[in-house]
């Protein structure tokens, strides 16, 4: 089985009537994702692509109790409330696509999710995909292929870059998880590594990190102790200067901490194969999986 989402995933789309919500609902369904319902406050009773729209999450989950995941396309100032609403309905996986959600709101809903054992993916993420089974996100699906590589990334497009490279070389993916580009995200590398370690369908893990914070360093410590599967890592932003955000709110070197070099050193120290160019991922995996 894959991690987080699979063919049993039943999806609610929050913000389904918006432009993005509609577009990606169609794309997800096209991929085979089971989207059962959507919400947009004030638009209950409408339909989008034949999918019923509700005013509130609870109405949708009462009608479709099998819903266990949600994806959120709600503007930033309302998105935290949407996440809280999904958590309140005890959904297991909540994907928050939205960028620019206030940091304090993020800390709150992440704490709440941890309390109740739900997974939040993102915010500011392309989502999560278990190729061939379920896509809960906005990624271009064609670059992903079913297979046995677990992919974890803080970046969107860079994930597609690496996934395309992997797929091209015959390394399909079990699940690809976009952690999200904000300083506070629902899942960390450690959370994702833990899932992949016990997933029978995953034989190796590729991590795509970037500057800012210390999630990669902590992952390195965790890998030393708990991860037996081979891990390849790429870290973006070696040339980023201090004190400047590189697009993502979380991608910033503060003082001397959060540099790509520190992350790469820590990962190497944990016997992770650290690559300097995304293109090197195939070779690294080939070497690792041969041995």
């Amino acid at each position: 089985m894959t991690v987080l989402i699979n063919d049993k995933t039943r999806v609610l789309v929050q913000g389904i009537t918006g432009r993005e919500g509609q577009f990606h609902t169609q794309a997800m369904r096209g991929y085979g994702t089971k989207v059962l319902a959507g919400t947009t406050p004030g638009k209950g009773g409408q339909e989008v692509e034949g999918i019923p729209v509700f005013d509130n999450v609870i109405e949708a989950t009462e009608e479709f109790p099998e819903i266990n995941a949600s994806i959120i396309f709600v503007p930033a100032r309302f998105a935290a409330d949407a996440v809280n609403e999904a958590l309140d309905a005890k959904l297991e996986v909540v994907v928050a696509i939205t960028e620019h959600i206030p940091l304090h709101d993020e800390m709150k809903f992440v704490a709440l999710a941890h309390q109740q054992g739900s997974y939040i993916i993102g915010p500011n993420t392309p989502g999560v995909i278990s190729p061939g089974m379920c896509k809960l996100g906005i990624m271009p699906a064609h670059v992903f292929k079913p297979g046995q590589i677990g992919l974890i990334s803080r970046s969107g497009t860079l994930t597609y870059e690496v996934a395309a490279s992997l797929s091209g070389a015959g390394f399909g993916q079990s699940t690809a998880i976009g952690l999200g580009g904000d300083p506070i995200t629902g899942m960390s590398f450690i959370d994702a590594l833990r899932l992949f370690e016990t997933d029978d369908n995953t034989s190796a893990v590729v991590m795509i990190g970037e500057i800012g914070g210390s999630a990669e360093e902590e992952a390195a410590e965790y890998i030393k102790e708990h991860i037996t599967k081979p891990v390849v890592a790429y870290v973006a932003g070696r040339t980023a200067p201090k004190g400047k955000r590189m697009g993502h709110a979380g991608a910033i070197v503060s003082g001397t901490s959060g540099t790509a070099d520190s992350k790469m050193a820590a990962l190497r120290d944990a016997s992770v194969t650290v690559i300097e160019r995304p293109i090197d991922v195939d070779e690294a995996l080939q070497t690792l999986l041969k041995s």
């Binding site: 940091l103 001397t256 995304p278």
Partner: protein, 382 residues
């Protein structure tokens, strides 16, 4: 969004924290006048949105109003880490008996706020953390509860304070929490909090960084950002207004891409092959042809740029749109520089045709394009 010291101090005052007497002056005349009002000695502090201001000579002590004026003459117009000084905060001198550090920031690892207290205030707290980790007390805050008074006391006690000082400092930590919480702060700091010889607690310096994403709840700050009174350079601000992220760097190869991670990787690839990026520019997801044209315009406005690397991996972003943008900009570009274009993903065939028609070469891999642009700019081609 970093606040000026005097703005942070206004936020402090709002919750009842004591700050030194003083005010902001915008001319040497005004500095002299404020110095007279306050009574000398006074401290002049350059108001710039950059750290390390003290070491860079941006803080001076004046013994007389006349001296204040002459120091101000030198400070105004000075540049500190690229920021022009056009405001000075003139403040009373305090009689210091003790300097304390108090701060609240976001602990990304634990995904919650962390309050920090140390008896070693007035110096770089990161340095203290390295050299005397035992002198720093930290307390994780449950974001759903907020900081509670007894937790503030626990923090202050752990930093080694007792008796009345414990009570005073705990109250100040709670006030600082209100600053953090009310302002959606990423970071707020008092360094140093001064205990004066007559037993007062005064925030001698103040730092407050507000989360940009929260500005819709902080209208006045949002307005200020729009007016450009922030850390951003002119080009950075222009890009922001257009909805793109642009960061000025020191190199000479312009970088444009879609997605923050991809753009960083593109910069890294350029560097890997021996080049130096002059900027970071993310056109964002689902950009249109117009946006690409604007992006090129911004990148080429930077005078150092000798070549541009466009790296597009189409997902929501469509290659044909990007190609159209590139073609359109050929006519309007300020100047002609070598380009390396990599264009794959959604609608790559259509994009390729558009570029081919316009006789613009392009490549399929990031590394090939990186090598190309480094060669072209190094070769001195035009």
């Amino acid at each position: 969004m970093r606040q000026f010291e005097f703005e942070a101090k206004e936020a402090f005052q709002k919750v009842g924290l004591s700050i030194p007497r003083g005010r902001v002056a915008q001319s040497s005349d005004e500095v002299e006048q404020v110095a007279r009002e306050l009574g000398c000695p006074v401290i002049l502090k350059a108001q710039v949105l950059a750290g390390g201001r003290g070491k860079a000579g941006g803080i001076k002590r004046a013994e007389t109003p006349k001296q204040a004026r002459s120091l101000a003459d030198k400070l105004f117009g000075m540049e500190i880490h690229g920021h022009l000084v056009n405001r000075l905060l003139v403040e009373e001198c305090l009689d210091i008996s003790q300097e304390i550090y108090l701060g609240i920031t976001v602990d990304r690892t634990n995904r919650r706020p962390v309050a920090i207290c140390s008896g070693m205030g007035g110096v770089d707290i990161e340095k203290v953390a390295k050299e005397h980790p035992e002198k720093i007390a930290r307390l994780a805050v449950n974001p759903l509860m907020g900081l509670r008074e007894f937790e503030a006391r626990r923090l202050v006690k752990a930093a080694g304070f007792k008796g009345r000082t414990l009570l005073h400092l705990s109250r100040i930590v709670m006030q600082l929490w209100r600053v953090f919480s009310d302002n959606d702060a990423e970071l707020t700091e008092i360094n140093p909090l001064i205990v004066t010889t007559d037993g007062k607690y005064i925030a001698a310096d103040a730092r407050l960084n507000v989360d940009d994403s929260s500005l819709f709840r902080h209208k006045t700050l949002a307005e200020r950002l729009e007016k450009g009174v922030a850390e951003l350079t002119e080009l950075e601000l222009r890009a922001r207004e257009l909805g793109m992220t642009y960061v000025e760097l020191k190199g000479d190869i312009g970088i444009i891409g879609n997605g923050a991670g991809l753009v960083m990787a593109t910069m890294d690839a350029v560097h890997y092959y021996g080049g130096k990026p002059s900027n970071f520019l993310d056109v964002g997801g689902g950009a249109t042809a117009d946006r690409m044209t604007q992006a090129l315009d911004i990148v080429l406005s930077h005078p150092d740029v000798k070549g541009v690397f466009i790296n597009i991996l189409g997902g929501i972003t469509r290659c044909d749109e990007m190609a159209n943008g590139i073609v359109a900009s050929q006519k309007t570009l300020k100047r002609e520089v070598p380009m390396a274009i990599r264009l794959i993903g959604t609608r790559e065939k259509e994009g390729a045709e558009i570029l081919q028609k316009a006789n613009i070469p392009f490549l399929e891999t990031m590394d090939a394009a990186a090598q190309l642009i480094v060669e072209k700019t190094r070769g001195g081609e035009k």
